[in-house]
């Protein structure tokens, strides 16, 4: 899990562009970072730590070159040290490589290279690549063929980008890891000084793990596919297969605003993104629902008519999948949610079920792997994702976008709500049982209901009260069970406190042993039906063990009688209540982490989208 950036055609601006790109990719990893610039020579600068640490090192020396690559790392092989930071070099320090992914045959390659006399400086899998290129160059290959030859020997997942001393081009290739080419052939975008100097307007090209890395420079992109190889220089770019066969690529235009990734006056992206939920939800519904007619329009997705559904996902997306499985079940379709990493390696019988992958980034390696396994077995696949042009959207038979806009905070917030909104629409579109008007009306209430939470929440006081607890529990039933799981995950991720979510009825079968007067229990209870009554029973169980209880409730049941604190949610449709209850828990986690001084947007050891298995 890492982010890579490359740049060709920007001459003296190369370093600034690389560092700026890395700062935009920092969500993908931030335990070490580095850059390499190639011109007449090769200049490399790298360090353990965040991008700001790299900036500090760069302040003392300014590497220059006409092309360059950069990398921000999240450790998989070897600890975060200066040596393990990318770019990695060959023995002669003529070849610099940045890489995202895992090279599965690296041990074999490394042993062979060591035997042949190559010296390794790091513990990483990546370092085999520059040495392989060095060998090919020594055999007389030209730079492009040498890079192709080296990449041809790799097994596993990779997006790699390479620069070489004395070569004013950048080489890159991908397999199972994301890589996007940005194209800036508009001379107006060139800096004024260059135009004034009368130079021929030339083109600039960018290569990155994700579009935000270069979105400030261009909105024209080419999404690269597995097995494709790119060469880019100031005079143009070329996409081929790894063997050199021609590939026709079409350019896309990304329409979102680069400024959308600023913090809009908030201290943290997470809080900004929590506040963006009403808008994100409206975008999700836009043009898709007709309340007065009681209809949902999802174009071709309405014709899927699956007999069964397997949802595969990881982390927060998995919680949305658990929620969705219940929706489909309620509509009479056998449905189950699976952890993608398990599904990929212990695949259950699929039969003629539709396999739905839920992933915010669309690049989550575990989810991609599960979907590939499903496809290998002949299953139809559907991607539910936030990222247009992502690998999952291209690989699946169908894609549905949740339209939440860019999410930068590592802890997913608005994308969870939007995933649930989108999955509700999907359930309505493909099940068409009875009159959907009541549900659609409830969904249209959702943005306003979330705004009500944002306007009135007392989560900050709750966080203040319980900030010093060692352990937190979350319970809920039915659609509120995934909310309990998500509430606990959010707290874990950003406060580093122990937190667990349980199905309310499961508490007494074990976890109750952990409940004491020191463990706050958050209970999500809305409505006053049988589910609510039973959950209130479970609340009494913990209250009897002296645990402080925070009820997240619409006040319909009598749970408040057994609760020490109440986080109110509006009286809404049951499906909607789960989302608004979750917003309360997002705020509790946020404020707790803020009071504890945690690194909220970049919690330790975590990365936004995990593109390794």
């Amino acid at each position: 899990m890492c982010g890579i950036i490359g740049c060709a055609g920007r001459d003296s601006e190369t370093l600034d562009i690389l560092v700026h790109g890395l700062s935009k990719l920092e969500y993908r990893g931030y335990d070490s970072a580095g850059v390499a610039l190639a011109g007449d020579g090769l200049d490399v600068c790298k360090t353990a730590g965040e991008i700001d640490d790299l900036r500090a090192v760069l302040a003392e020396r300014s590497p220059a070159g006409s092309v360059g690559v950069g990398h921000t790392r999240w450790s998989t092989h070897g600890p975060p040290t200066d040596e393990n930071a990318h770019p990695h070099l060959d023995c002669n320090r003529d070849v610099a490589v940045v890489h995202n992914g895992i090279i599965e045959n690296y041990q074999q390659l490394r042993d062979d290279l060591s035997t042949a006399g190559h010296e390794f400086r790091s513990d990483t899998d990546t370092e085999v690549v520059p040495h392989l290129i060095e060998d090919a160059l020594a055999d007389g290959a030209d730079p492009e063929d040498a890079v192709r030859a080296a990449i041809g020997r790799l097994e596993g997942s990779y997006a790699v980008s390479v620069v070489l001393s004395g070569v004013d081009r950048i080489f890159a290739a991908r397999n199972d890891s994301p890589l996007v080419l940005g194209i800036d052939e508009d001379s107006e975008a060139r800096s004024a000084s260059e135009q004034a100097s009368g130079d021929e307007p030339r083109a600039a090209y960018y290569l990155a793990s994700d579009v935000p890395a270069f979105r400030d420079h261009t909105d024209r992109v080419v999404y690269l596919a597995d097995g494709e190889f790119v060469v880019a220089g100031a005079d143009g770019y070329r996409v081929t297969t790894l063997d050199g066969g021609p590939v026709e690529k079409t350019e896309d235009t990304v329409d979102w605003d680069p400024e959308e990734t600023g913090k809009s006056g908030y201290d943290h992206y997470m809080l900004k993104e929590i506040h963006e939920q009403p808008r994100a939800l409206r975008q999700c519904f836009r043009g898709r629902v007709d309340e007065l007619a009681g209809q949902v329009d999802l174009a071709d997705l309405s014709d899927l008519s699956p007999r069964g559904i397997h949802l595969v996902a990881c982390g927060t997306s998995y919680h949305a999948a658990v929620y969705a499985a219940r929706l489909f079940q309620q509509a009479g379709i056998p449905a189950q949610a699976f952890l993608a990493s398990e599904y990929a390696t212990s695949t259950p019988p699929i039969g003629d079920a539709l396999v739905v992958g839920v992933t915010q980034s669309g690049e989550t390696a575990d989810t991609l792997s599960a979907l590939r396994e499903a496809r290998r077995r002949g299953a139809r696949t559907l991607a539910v994702t936030n990222t247009v042009g992502s690998t999952v959207a291209r690989e699946c038979d169908h894609a549905m976008y949740i339209r939440a806009g860019p999410e930068i905070g590592v802890a997913a917030t608005k994308t969870f709500s939007s995933q649930i909104a989108a999955l509700n629409l999907l359930a309505l579109a493909i099940t068409s049982v009875g009159d959907a008007r009541e549900v659609i009306s409830g969904l249209r209430d959702l943005p306003g209901a979330v705004q009500e939470i944002l306007d009135t929440s007392t989560a900050r006081e709750i966080a203040e009260t319980y900030r010093d607890a060692e352990s937190y529990f979350f319970i809920g039933r039915g659609l509120h069970y995934p909310v309990a799981l998500e509430g606990a995950l959010k707290l874990k991720e950003i406060t580093y406190k122990h937190a667990e979510g349980f199905a309310a009825g499961e508490l007494k079968h074990g976890p109750l042993a952990l409940v004491t007067g020191e463990t706050p229990v958050f209970a999500v209870v809305t409505g006053d039906d049988e589910q609510a009554t039973k959950t209130v029973g479970n609340v009494k169980e913990v209250e009897a063990r002296d645990a402080p209880v925070v009820a997240v409730t619409d006040g319909a049941s009598d749970v408040e009688r057994y609760a020490d604190h109440v986080l109110e949610v509006p009286d809404t449709h049951r499906r909607v209540a789960a989302v608004v209850a979750n917003v309360q828990l997002q705020l509790v986690a946020y404020h707790t982490a803020d009071m504890l001084g945690r690194s909220i947007d970049k919690p330790r050891n975590l990365a936004k989208s995990v593109t390794v298995e």
Binding site: D257, E260, H275, P278, F285, R286, S441, P447, Q451, L454
Partner: protein
């Protein structure tokens, strides 16, 4: 000295607009279908400003959530005024965010780009310490009145009681960077720093220029003024939504039933839905995600985002906040009434009702003209509402 940074003062609540300002500051109240502040930003961007600094305070998240980090590709920086201690104090908060001479405007009044341009041009050409826009206004006594002599400002007085004034301060200024020191040096009056006090001090030193302007300048002081504001915006078509017919603007993502009637001028916001037989307009603005049921009549009314009006209801001369839910067969007949705001009574105002955020009315609820309903109040089926109804109240039949 060219001016390209604008500071927008948007930190105040606007207490006389309660209960509509319970969850948002006055600049975020609707001018037809868009917040007042959006019109202010439009004027500034149209006048060539390439950097906006927005001073926020009361319910600041509403401003930040709406605009995000940029507006029409112009970056917006937010500066917090933690306590609302006057307009001068608000501007002072922007000191570190401003580089070069700023344009300063109030975020809670509708202005036009031409006024901003007039001020910046005069400032750039003549360059005294301060230049401000001046307008002729029939009710000069309601606002900050000014006197000019050969374009030099000689007097500035807030809400003068004598009727001799004809010109008002439009609240659009250009300053050189020394303004921040001038504000800091201005003595506080009852704990507050008013920008006009600083301007009065500069005027004593003959350092303030007034530039006469014309055009739309609309201020909302009381809730019913939002109906006037909406009319002004609709008359000029400043709705930011595609035009369907003369005076009829319908967002591309709105759904209007073939058997619904739109009477101009009227605007229907994104994601809104109108059922069969609905008659909407004239002088009516629907925000986004508004649902209008079958056979509903809406006239001279501003409906905030997420409002739902169920079948057969009638709303006339009504202003709502967000997420208001009006049950089937409810009636706001509209008309004139004496409206009580706090302890003051305003006679003979045309106002059907004001429904603040998240008011819910069951079916068959009727409203006396001039009714003000506080946020989250719930009016039960068949209830009759009149006068002032407090926040969260339950009204039964």
């Amino acid at each position: 000295m060219s001016v390209s940074t604008a500071v927008v003062l948007a930190a105040g609540e606007g207490t006389r607009l309660r209960p509509l300002t319970r969850n948002r500051p006055k600049p975020m109240l609707p001018a037809a279908n868009r917040p007042i502040l959006e019109h202010v930003f439009d004027a500034l961007v149209d006048a060539g400003m390439d950097e906006l600094v927005c001073v926020v305070g009361y319910k600041h998240d509403r401003v930040q959530d709406h605009f995000g980090p940029s507006y029409r590709d112009v970056p917006v920086e937010y500066v917090r005024q933690h306590k609302q201690l006057g307009s001068g104090h608000a501007l002072l908060q922007a000191r570190t965010a401003v580089d070069g001479p700023p344009v300063v405007v109030n975020g809670d009044r509708l202005i036009e780009a031409s006024m901003v341009e007039a001020v910046t041009e005069a400032f750039e050409r003549h360059g005294p310490a301060a230049t401000l826009a001046v307008l002729e206004h029939p009710d000069a006594g309601q606002y900050g009145a000014v006197v000019l002599q050969n374009d030099e400002l000689t007097e500035i007085v807030e809400k003068p009681t004598s009727g001799e004034y004809r010109l008002i301060n439009a609240g659009i200024y250009a300053f050189d960077e020394t303004i921040f020191d001038e504000i800091a040096d201005t003595p506080r009056s009852s704990g507050e720093l008013a920008l006009t006090d600083t301007i009065a001090r500069l005027a004593e030193r003959e350092q303030v220029r007034g530039t006469r302007c014309e055009g739309m300048w609309v201020d909302a002081t009381y809730p019913w003024d939002l109906l006037t504001v909406a009319r002004a915006v609709l008359a000029r078509g400043r709705v930011g939504v595609s035009q369907r017919d003369d005076g009829v603007w319908v967002h591309d993502d709105a759904r209007v039933h073939d058997a619904a009637i739109l009477r101009p001028p009227v605007v229907v916001g994104a994601d809104s839905e109108l059922g069969p037989g609905a008659v909407v307009g004239p002088d009516t603005a629907l925000g986004y995600n508004v649902t209008i049921g079958a056979n509903v009549t809406v006239e001279r009314t501003v409906l905030g985002a997420d409002a739902r009006v169920d079948a057969g209801s009638i709303l006339v001369d009504t202003v709502t906040g967000q997420d208001v839910d009006v049950g089937a067969g409810s009636v706001v007949p509209g008309g004139r009434a004496d409206v009580r705001v706090g302890t003051e009574v305003f006679e003979d105002q045309r106002l059907g009702a004001v429904l603040a955020d998240r008011v819910t009315a069951g079916g068959d609820v009727s409203f006396d003209p001039g009714t003000l309903v506080g946020p989250s109040a719930h009016l039960h089926t068949g209830a009759h509402a009149g006068g002032q109804i407090p926040d969260g109240a339950e009204v039964t039949r």
